[in-house]
């Protein structure tokens, strides 16, 4: 019989801790599938941030360094400089990358570190129970913005993919979404492109993935998918914001 779908070799068979309806699992599978395709699993080191992403080592059968909250891009910098022949990727949530770790990600990007970051944007701090993040949408109710995010007090949601795209060191910055088969396919291509950028020595690559957190959004898994389409994408447009085609930085 012709097998058309299987668990990627770059993913373990561990049961995930992710809530039903969460798209972290899809992001994991896409990364693992692309690692299989590119044949890089043996030479790849993963660095998760803190939060729901931290259990990366349970799900990927690869070498993993656990970084302090927000600091993964700096850890990845040290690791990639020490082992330029290895593939180093970072997996961070929005509390990690877009709040406590903004300095580290901006400067890693600006130096053009030849690393890849997968950035899960679900607009809240997931693991700690759904507090407001810099990515929380205006009006969105969270446990720490119980009356809805108000720009006069909490400012505006931060668009990291666009922000990083302004930096010369960045080879690839894109935003994708994980709420429909079409978008998952697009996300998969972006993951592959990001790894290829690193393999070709092009510099910093980042894929921002709009992801669900139905538990903390207090909606059903199905409604969460619609929330991405109807509320997140209008504020966080999908697309490629920077793509280097040659080593023009030379």
């Amino acid at each position: 019989m012709n097998r058309i779908f299987k668990r990627p070799d770059s993913l373990t068979d561990a049961n995930t801790h992710f809530c039903p309806g969460c798209t972290h699992g899809i992001a994991h599978r896409l990364i693992a599938e692309v690692m299989d395709e590119l044949g890089i699993t043996d030479n790849t080191i993963g660095i998760p941030g803190v939060g729901c992403c931290v259990f990366l080592y349970t799900y990927f059968p690869i070498d993993v360094l656990e970084a302090p909250h927000g600091r993964a891009p700096a850890c990845a910098t040290g690791m990639k400089r020490a082992q330029p022949d290895k593939i180093v990727f970072v997996y961070q949530g929005d509390g990690d990358l877009a709040a406590i770790g903004t300095s580290e990600v901006i400067h890693a990007a600006n130096r053009g570190e030849n690393i890849t970051i997968f950035f899960i944007n679900n607009s809240v701090y997931g693991m700690t129970g759904g507090q407001m993040a810099p990515t929380t949408l205006l009006g969105q109710q969270t446990t720490t913005s119980p009356y809805g995010r108000d720009f006069q007090s909490e400012g505006y949601p931060i668009r990291m993919a666009e922000l990083l795209a302004t930096l010369e060191g960045v080879a690839y910055s894109t935003r994708v979404a994980l709420h429909s088969p079409k978008h998952v396919n697009q996300a998969r291509k972006a993951v592959r492109k990001a790894f290829e950028m690193q393999m070709n020595g092009m510099g910093f690559s980042m894929v921002e993935m709009l992801s669900t957190c139905n538990t903390n959004w207090r909606v059903s898994p199905l409604e969460a998918l619609k929330t991405i389409e109807n509320e997140m994408i209008p504020y966080y447009p999908l697309g490629v914001f920077k793509e280097r085609t040659g080593k023009d930085f030379l």
Partner: protein, 352 residues
């Protein structure tokens, strides 16, 4: 053997790091330690190494973590405020069994403080400046030669015990010049690091982490770390003693005050006062046993520090219960003079 050359403390330390095989340095500027990154920025690229002027001390220490987790010898250096920013990652590295060397050329605090020499960061270095139940290995040079030698030793101990090691020196030791031989006393041996994260090729995947959630896991981990610290305490104490055999009073001092104490000791002996010195070279492991033994024979102990009294607590805890411990400290950039120490000796001995 290479001749001795007049060398600045910070430069001796930086050269010691390179000769120890540290090819990865990440740092952020702060006085009074800027000679270290500047020397390494000039010399590491020439010797096959990597220097990154990081965006912050937080980034510096996390870059160190990445390079060290790769199995490489890596280092950063800073002073008070910057060292405070590094405590988070140092706690992570201790908890993840990742070796590294962190240098603190101490400037006065708290806060922005000033740039004069101090020993105000003793507690931060020795009693763990970060969160959780861990210790740093802490070495305290008192000369330019020791800046070179003890930096090499710090890498050796960090690797041996897979733990952060600190070299702490006050700004004086970092900034002054002395004759120094920039040759390692012993050949440099870098141990194999089978735990390093280098990709799983040919073996099972490996992990460096400090998160332990399952019931009992964290406790077991902490007890294992405790056993490691006990082993360090047992085997790695370094100290210098001078004229303690017949002493009626023992001065305990490290770093710059130990140098001043040596002058005071000579003068005191000329005055007929039998003073001796115990200088801890390792602050952790602290010379507990030696303090206990000497203080049971020499019941007068004078601790001299450039702070308001930090190491004195460790001396007190470890001394014979009947020993009389007195303290003389110059905080905030003040440096003790030999006359001050002699005055304090006389006070302790109730001599005029």
């Amino acid at each position: 053997m290479t001749p001795r050359a007049l060398t600045k403390g910070n430069i001796a330390l930086a050269e010691g790091a390179i000769q120890a095989g540290c090819l990865y340095y990440f740092g952020y500027p702060i006085t009074p330690q800027n000679d270290i990154p500047e020397y390494l920025a000039r010399n590491l690229p020439k010797r096959g190494g990597i220097f990154i002027p990081a965006e912050s001390e937080i980034a510096s220490i996390n870059m160190v973590m990445g390079a060290a987790a790769s199995g490489k010898r890596a280092m950063t250096s800073s002073s008070g405020p910057g060292i405070s920013l590094m405590q988070e990652a140092m706690s992570y590295m201790a908890g993840s069994d990742i070796p590294c060397v962190v240098v603190n050329i101490m400037r006065v605090g708290p806060g922005l403080g000033g740039i004069e020499p101090t020993q105000g960061d003793y507690n931060q270095a020795v009693h763990g400046g970060g969160h959780g139940d861990y210790k740093n290995i802490v070495l305290a040079p008192a000369s330019v030669q020791e800046m070179f030698d003890l930096t090499i030793k710090a890498f050796e101990l960090a690797d041996k015990y897979r733990n952060p090691a600190m070299v702490v020196a006050d700004a004086m030791i970092g900034q002054f010049q002395e004759p120094c031989r920039l040759t390692p006393a012993e050949p440099i041996l870098i141990p194999e690091k089978p735990w390093a994260l280098t990709g799983r090729q040919g073996r099972k995947p490996q992990l460096l982490k400090s998160l332990y959630l399952a019931p009992g896991e964290q406790e077991a981990h902490n007890l294992r770390m405790k056993a490691k610290y006990d082993e360090i305490q047992e085997h790695e104490v370094m100290l210098e003693t001078r004229e303690l055999d017949d002493a009626e009073i023992m001065i305990v001092a490290f770093g710059t005050p130990s140098r001043v104490a040596k002058s005071a000791l000579t003068q005191a002996r000329e005055m007929g006062i039998r003073a001796g010195l115990l200088r801890p070279i390792t602050l952790f492991p602290f010379p507990e046993k030696e303090i206990r033994e000497y203080s049971s024979k020499i019941r007068k102990v004078l601790v001299v520090e450039m702070n308001t009294g930090q190491m004195v607590r460790d001396v007190r805890i470890n001394s014979h219960p009947e020993a009389e411990i007195s303290f003389y400290g110059r905080p905030g950039g003040g440096i003790p003079y030999p006359d001050d120490i002699i005055r304090e000796i006389k006070k302790a001995l109730k001599k005029s």
